[in-house]
Amino acid sequence: MHEQRYSQTAIAIHWLAALGITAAIAMGVYMVALPMSPARLRLINWHKWLGVSILVLSTVRLLWRLTHRPPADLPMPSWQLRAAHLVHGVMYALFFAVPLTGWTYSSAAGFPVVLFGVLPLPDLVSPDTSLAAVLKALHVTLALTLGAVITLHVMAVIKHQLIDRDGILSRMDPWPIRNLEA
């Protein structure tokens, strides 16, 4: 039973990332619709700080994933396994691509990222208005793609949990004690 679950570290990172990424996408969608105001600037900065935090968390996550074996796949048709692994791979790629394009966009737009308002991060490119426009479009496209892929991932979990009833969610349950009591 134990090897059917992800490690506590992997589970913690998963839910922390889920929370952070959902918040970052929601902030991004909301803030770009705001008119120029202190509220907009504050959200943009928080969004950048969150994005950099997600980038750091994703690096830890990738290193953990590469050095720890995940639990064996649940029995399911091979096309579903291939699709699940493809979705995981795309998500991992976007965990890096989305924050990195955002950071690069910020550099190109002439706004260095200062993490939490105190730690200046290096500029990835020099300020360039036309490059900034391209990077903005790329960042938005990749972020919305990540949102779509996460939706697919969640829908697959719901399908497995509620229709196949294969207990897939318990693999990522951060409180396994509760399951033992149930």
Binding site: S37, P38, L41, N45, G110, F111, V118, P127
Partner: protein, 187 residues
């Protein structure tokens, strides 16, 4: 012929007694820039249009007077959004206050090539006294005056309403200038 000589003579006399007439700001070689922080993020800008009136003689104990006129609508930023914002009523209010001026009230020598300028800085209808250390350096026929000082943007109502929160846009603004002047006597 005689009258022409008199005119030339008078003109020369004017140049000698009123050196201001020959002192000119060279805009292409001059810069006025400023920098501030926005949630810790450095933002830089500059003014592209400014003019000045100078009557300055470094050899005199009271070296003269300087007036600088800056077009507030010429503030240039790296980001187009910032530039659009800067002209608005909350910031420079360019429609109502198209110019900022610095008028010296006293210039005092403070060592070789160094001066302390005291003057009235007027921005957005608010005038404040400022003290600015200025260094002069000569390069050929050009005298370059450089200096820097810090002003509090809220003193001049730059960034009103929601924008007056200094935790969002810092109150301190570092102003830097390099003014290339022609026609100033060698020290």
């Amino acid at each position: 012929m005689k009258s022409l000589r008199r005119i030339t003579c008078c003109a020369s006399a004017l140049l000698v007694f009123f050196p201001a007439y020959a002192q000119k700001l060279e805009p292409a070689q001059s810069e006025i820039s400023f920098a501030f922080k926005q949630m810790g993020v450095p933002v830089e800008g500059r003014f592209s249009t400014f003019a000045g009136q100078f009557s300055f003689d470094p050899k005199k104990a009271d070296p003269g007077k300087v007036v600088l006129i800056i077009d507030t609508g010429s503030a240039r930023f790296g980001s187009p959004d910032t530039q659009t914002e800067a002209v608005k009523a909350e910031w420079f209010n360019v429609a109502k206050f198209p110019q900022a001026t610095l008028e010296s009230t006293a210039i005092a020598a403070a060592g070789p090539g160094k001066y302390d300028l005291t003057g009235r800085l007027s921005i957005k209808g608010v005038a404040r006294e400022v003290r600015i250390p200025v260094a002069l350096a000569r390069a050929g026929a050009i005298t370059v005056a450089t200096g820097a000082f810090t002003l509090k943007r809220l003193d001049f109502k730059i960034g009103e309403g929601d924008w007056s929160d200094p935790s969002m846009v810092a109150n301190d603004v570092q102003v830097k200038f390099k003014l290339a002047l022609s026609g100033i006597a060698a020290p």
